[in-house]
Structure formats: structure tokens, C-alpha cells
């Protein structure tokens, strides 16, 4: 339940950002990062619809590789 997913910010409207990852788009709440300067193209770690922390694009990529491994793992529920 505490797992975060890296997403890229596509655009920002107030505290709501449209974020994308691997072709999936979601509304993400930025309230927990209201003191962090964010702009489209930045990456964030998202947990239950809220951005928890800004991350670098390289970190986002390596986190996605891990995620793919976990989703591909046999017996994933």
C-alpha cells in the first residue's frame, strides 16, 4: 500500500496535475508538494493519487524498470 509510482507531469492546474506514465494518464494532487516548484516535464513519485516527492527523470526511469519487473513476475496477484 505504501508503494509509489513515478509519473511525469504533463500540465498543472492549481494543485491538480495531469500526469502520465507509460501511456496512462491520471489526475494527481500536488498539495503535499505545494512548496516545491514543479513544472510540466518534471517527475514525481505518486501514491494514492498524491505526489509525495519530486524525482529526477533518471530515477523515474529506473523505478519504472523495477515496476515492470514486479508486474512481470510470475504469480503476481
Amino acid at each position: 500500500m505504501c508503494l509509489g509510482i513515478p509519473m511525469e507531469i504533463l500540465d498543472i492546474n492549481g494543485y491538480i496535475a495531469r500526469c502520465g506514465a507509460r501511456g496512462v494518464e491520471r489526475e494527481v494532487n500536488l498539495f503535499l508538494l505545494q512548496e516545491t516548484p514543479l513544472k510540466p516535464g518534471d517527475h514525481v513519485i505518486v501514491h494514492v493519487g498524491y505526489a509525495l516527492q519530486k524525482i529526477s527523470p533518471e530515477e523515474a526511469r529506473s523505478a519504472w524498470e523495477l515496476f515492470d519487473q514486479m508486474l512481470d513476475a510470475p504469480g503476481h496477484a
Binding site: M1, L32, L66, A73, G75
Partner: protein, 367 residues
């Protein structure tokens, strides 16, 4: 060039452990899933034990709270919403009564699984004539978003039934007991992202044990494991941060401030564990209008059989405390399986039993 998982394994195997038994606890379902799926236990020297501890917020959510949520959901005009994991958690209800939110839903209660606190607020906005109760369990990582939602002026018909918990007090409770059961700790990466690595300094400073914050890749977990093993061998425990790309010493200052604005921290009950001081979130008085417990007093529960306990025969309490492995439970793989779970550790995606099952452990350990 960052080290690969294989590099870390080689480094660990080269440590002069000489068969010395070392028990390393993790307190995060995400860590346990990575360990199980990557098969790290089988790849490590057999003297190193990786123990899943209290890392599943659904598993430790009080049975009484789930029962209360069921009773609320059965009320006329209440729409109850919860993270999907909560719906199948079993309670010890009297015969003929629903024993989970899922069973209450089958009997007509309006219960909606959600994946974000934002959806709870949206449900309340879309149903202004109804009372929407958000049954929110989770650790700090999840409770920070819940705090954000309730501070962002949700509609007045949204109530919270809070079962949020802090992670570290359960570890402190274990360390203060006569049977801590571990020699080093791998601290949870996303909890520390929010709360800061410093929240785990007490492991080192109060108890003299090695600790390292880890991310969720096998590399990060093995780096943390290597760190705590070296700390043990060198008798020099310190708090290492093996997830520096996300975790800072003080965490997300905004998130911590919002948590503090929304909640007080009070003693709280953990299913199968008991009451732990300063371990649970309660809504602050200025948010009392959103507190389901103030609007609807808890159902009289004193007479209910096995209230608060795990289901009969279920060893989840021992699993949660890291005292036995999932496959040492009397019910694992026999009566208790993901398609017909008995205990919460087999229900939740964060539960150690569910994770072990998903990674292929299908039979109980031979006694």
C-alpha cells in the same frame, strides 16, 4: 556505475559472517514483495534471515474498526468507501451478520472501493444528500494524502473513520519487549520519504542496532542489507540511507506539517498486537465535523465474541510481529488461501502471507 544486485550479493557473500545467525527485519509490504519476488532469501547465505515484520496497515487495522465500518455501511443513507484491500478483511461477527465489508455489500450496503482519498471527496460531492464515510487505514505514506484531502475543504457530508498508524512505534514496541526477534532493521523507503530518515534514528541511538533505509529495487534492498551486516560486523551501528534519491533526513516538510495540522497522535490499538502508545492518528478538534466516530458513537461491542481478535486458528498476530514466517501459520495454504482468506495477512496485497503465496510458496512449512 551503480552496483548490480549480483555485485551486492557477491559483497554480502564475501563478508566474514562464518555462519553467524543474523535476523534482519523489514516493516514494509513493498520491501517484502521485492524480497519474495526477486527470491533474495534463496540467494543469500542461509545464516541471514529476512523477517517480515509489522508492515501491513490493513493487517493491523483493529478488528473493532472493521466491524464499526460494517455497521456504518449498513445504515440507511450511508455510503461507505475504503481502499479496496479493506473490503475482504474478516471480522468475528455473530452468526448471520456480515463478516466483511464485501459481505455487507452483497447484502445491499453501498460500499465503494477507491484508490485515492480524492475519490472519497469526489463521492461526497457527487452525493450531497448522503453521508459518505471514508474508512481510512494506512501508514504515514497514506495518511499524508488523507491529511491533504481533509485539509483541502472536503464537502461537509464527508466523514472519516480513521485507522491510520505510525510505523515506527510498533518497531519500538518490539525492541522494548523481551523478544525483539531481530538484530538489524531495514527501514521503509516511502514512509521515510514522507517522514524523513531521522524517524528511525532511535533504532541506533536507543537500541544500538544497525539500520538502513531502503528503496524497493533488489539493488537498494541488498545495499541496505550489506550496510546493516557491515555495521554489525564492525560493531558500529549507524542509520544508513540507501534510498537517497527520495529520502532526506527530514522528509517532506510540507507533508509532515499537514499531518500535524490534521491529526493528533494518540495511543492506538493494533490488531493482534494490542495498544501501542503514540501510534495512531486522530482528527484534530477543528476537523471534528468530519469525524465519523463523533457523529456515530461506536457500536456497543463488549458482548461480541472474539471482538478485536484474529479469526479462530489464525496466526496473523504472530506473523505481523515477525515471530513466525507466514508458512508456519497453522492455516497457511490449508484453510487460508487468497481465494478464501481467513486472516488479514492473506487478504491484503501488503500482507506477508499473501505476498509469500503470490511468490510461489504454496505449502505449509513442515513442522
Amino acid at each position: 556505475m551503480p552496483r548490480s544486485a549480483q555485485d551486492w550479493l557477491d559483497l554480502i557473500r564475501a563478508l566474514p559472517l562464518e555462519g553467524r545467525r543474523v535476523r534482519v527485519m523489514n516493516v514494509c509490504g513493498g520491501h517484502e514483495r521485492s524480497i519474495a519476488q526477486a527470491g533474495l532469501r534463496g540467494a543469500l547465505p542461509s545464516s541471514i534471515e529476512l523477517i517480515p515484520g509489522p508492515g501491513c496497515p490493513v493487517c493491523v487495522c483493529p478488528e473493532e474498526d472493521v466491524y464499526e465500518a460494517i455497521q456504518l455501511a449498513l445504515r440507511e443513507n450511508v455510503l461507505l468507501t475504503a481502499f479496496g484491500d479493506m473490503l475482504r478483511v474478516p471480522v468475528n461477527a455473530p452468526k448471520g451478520e456480515p463478516r466483511s465489508l464485501e459481505q455487507a455489500k452483497a447484502r445491499g450496503a453501498d460500499i465503494r472501493p477507491i484508490a485515492s482519498p480524492m475519490e472519497a471527496a469526489a463521492l461526497a460531492r457527487a452525493n450531497p444528500q448522503r453521508t459518505v464515510v471514508f474508512f481510512a487505514a494506512g501508514f504515514e505514506t497514506t495518511m499524508a494524502p488523507v491529511a491533504a484531502m481533509v485539509l483541502e475543504a472536503p464537502p461537509p457530508n464527508l466523514l472519516l473513520l480513521l485507522s491510520g498508524r505510525l510505523t515506527w512505534p510498533a518497531v519500538a514496541m518490539l525492541l522494548n519487549s523481551d523478544r525483539p526477534g531481530f538484530d538489524a532493521l531495514v527501514a521503509p523507503g516511502h514512509v521515510a520519504t514522507v517522514m524523513g530518515a531521522n524517524e528511525w534514528r532511535f533504532i541506533v541511538e536507543d537500541h544500538g542496532l544497525p539500520a538502513a533505509v531502503a528503496g524497493f529495487s533488489p539493488q537498494s534492498l541488498l545495499a541496505a542489507l550489506y550496510s546493516v551486516l557491515r555495521q554489525l560486523l564492525e560493531r558500529h551501528p549507524f542509520l544508513d540511507n540507501c534510498y537517497p534519491e527520495l529520502v532526506t533526513p527530514a522528509g517532506n516538510a510540507t507533508a509532515r506539517r499537514l499531518l500535524d495540522q490534521a491529526f493528533t497522535v494518540d495511543e492506538a490499538n493494533w490488531r493482534g498486537v494490542g495498544v501501542i502508545p503514540a501510534s495512531g492518528f486522530t482528527l484534530r478538534p477543528h476537523l471534528a465535523a468530519h469525524d465519523a466516530r463523533l457523529r456515530y458513537p461506536s457500536p456497543a461491542d463488549a458482548q461480541r465474541k472474539r471482538a478485536g481478535q484474529m479469526p479462530p486458528g489464525c496466526d496473523c498476530a504472530q506473523v505481523v510481529l515477525g515471530r513466525i514466517y507466514p508458512d508456519e501459520c497453522r492455516l497457511y495454504g490449508r484453510a487460508c488461501r487468497p481465494d478464501a482468506p481467513i486472516g488479514p495477512c492473506m487478504v491484503s496485497d501488503e500482507g506477508a502471507c499473501r505476498i509469500w503465496w503470490a511468490s510461489g510458496v504454496r505449502t505449509p512449512r513442515a513442522a
